[in-house]
């Protein structure tokens, strides 16, 4: 009886493992590949697009409405490292790597928002 129970357990666990492997393969083959880009806009005009899939550190100087902002990327995240704005809210936000946390410097009318780029096979003309 015990042997039969053990055999059933083996069959059940093996079945679950096979199902998991199949599911993993399906997920890996069908997953949508995305890269992140940071778009820097001054007064709602995009002036710079930064590829965040480039993991090397990058530095940029942005001419804001009332002064310059220094932007730095590190390991796929972006931050305003210095700004001439009085409250320094944009600098205090630190590094951002998700699309739901835009960096805003109201004083300089600068917005940095992250978007994901999908490597699909659709082309728009």
């Amino acid at each position: 009886m015990d042997k039969k129970k053990l055999r059933n357990d083996i069959i059940l666990i093996s079945s679950l493992l096979i199902a998991a492997v199949v599911a993993l393969v399906v997920v890996l083959l069908t997953r949508v590949k995305t890269n992140l880009v940071a778009k820097v806009a001054v007064q709602n005009n995009v002036v710079l697009v930064i590829d965040l899939s480039n993991k090397n550190d990058q530095d940029f100087e942005i001419d804001g409405l009332k002064g310059k902002l220094h932007v730095h990327t590190h390991s796929g995240a972006i931050a305003v490292t210095s700004s001439n704005c009085p409250h320094q809210d944009c600098v205090k936000m630190g590094y951002v790597n998700t699309s739901n946390r835009p960096i805003i410097c109201a004083y300089n009318a600068v917005t940095i928002f992250i978007e994901s780029v999908t490597a699909g096979s659709d082309v728009v003309i």
Partner: protein
């Protein structure tokens, strides 16, 4: 016990697959304000260095073909505003040469000397006005009395009062340069979209390598393509309707008119600059003329009028 070991071994691939760094899934970049557009580059193979090289190529050609302002290098603006021979970069020299020759390849309504007339039409349409026929005739006279001379050692001389404008061919030429670069780099899977009017397609990541091509303005029209240049000319974006008549930024170099025969012409070709010039010129051709050019130049076309396909080459795979 043996079964437990078997289970442990099975978990190893799951744990290790989580920690392997596969690198970027692809390489993409958007270059703002090149050729008055956003240029999208997508490489499924290659490296960030390839993106850097392609960006340099695009921005360099944008500077050289600018006819609106002086740039760090001698460009089209320099030639237009000089009464002497101008020494230019070899790629600009080559592009001007092609712009002069493309008329003999079927682009009968393409003229690189339309710069001044184009600007005057643009200014008028921005004010929702139709350009005065007297102004048009004066500009056409300037065009007919002007010429571009290509001299030895990359010197260019423009005679007459007309201005050079390479807007109808520059993006296509840029994709030609990109194609040559990608071929040398051994990159086969890519897409470069220079603001929708000139697209270079290699192969996609799909198993058959095809891209699905969609129209922004005509969502019901879609087709499949790969390994080709797609050039599009149309009046949807820069056109303006005045008094029930649609006026375009694409000007007929013979009559000076800004009224096109169609809403949009798409050319699939093996040469970017040729497709670019042909799509512009075909806005004034008849369908029979377009079919004849297709045969002679080995290109495939789609012609759209009133948001409907008026003609499509039977080899284009509509989806």
């Amino acid at each position: 016990m043996k079964f437990n070991k078997f289970l442990t071994l099975l978990t190893i691939p799951f744990i290790s697959s989580c920690s392997i760094n596969h690198g970027p899934a692809f390489y993409s970049r958007t270059i703002p304000y090149v050729f008055n557009a956003f240029v999208d580059i997508l490489l499924y193979e290659g490296s960030n260095q390839n993106l850097d090289d392609l960006e340099d190529m695009m921005t360099s050609l944008d500077i050289l073909t600018d006819n609106y302002k002086s740039r760090p290098k001698n460009n089209v603006y320099t030639i237009n505003n000089s009464s002497d021979d101008v020494l230019v970069d070899s790629s600009l020299y080559d592009l001007i040469k092609k712009a002069k020759e493309v008329k003999n390849l079927g682009a009968t309504y393409f003229n690189p000397l339309l710069g001044s007339l184009n600007k005057k039409w643009k200014e008028a349409l921005e004010k929702s006005e139709v350009l005065d026929s007297e102004v048009i005739n004066t500009e056409l006279e300037k065009i007919n009395n002007s010429s571009i001379e290509l001299k030895e050692n990359n010197y260019v001389y423009k005679s007459g009062e007309a201005e050079i404008d390479l807007g109808g061919i520059a993006k296509g030429y840029a994709t030609d340069l990109a194609y040559d670069y990608l071929k040398k780099a051994g990159i086969n899977k890519y897409m470069i979209n220079t603001g929708r009017s000139s697209v270079l397609l290699g192969e996609s990541n799909e198993s058959d390598g095809y891209f699905r091509v969609n129209f922004e303005e005509y969502p019901n029209i879609k087709f499949r393509a790969k390994n080709c240049f797609i050039s599009t000319s149309g009046n949807a974006v820069q056109g303006k309707e005045i008094g029930g008549v649609k006026y375009s930024h694409i000007i007929n170099p013979i009559t000076g008119s800004a009224i096109n025969n169609y809403d949009c012409v798409v050319v699939l070709s093996n040469v970017g600059y040729l497709g670019d010039a042909l799509s512009t010129s075909m806005m004034f051709n008849t369908i029979d003329e377009i079919k004849e050019i297709e045969t002679n130049q080995k290109v495939k076309c789609i012609v759209i009028k009133d948001s409907q396909i008026q003609y499509i080459n039977s080899w284009i795979e509509v989806i």
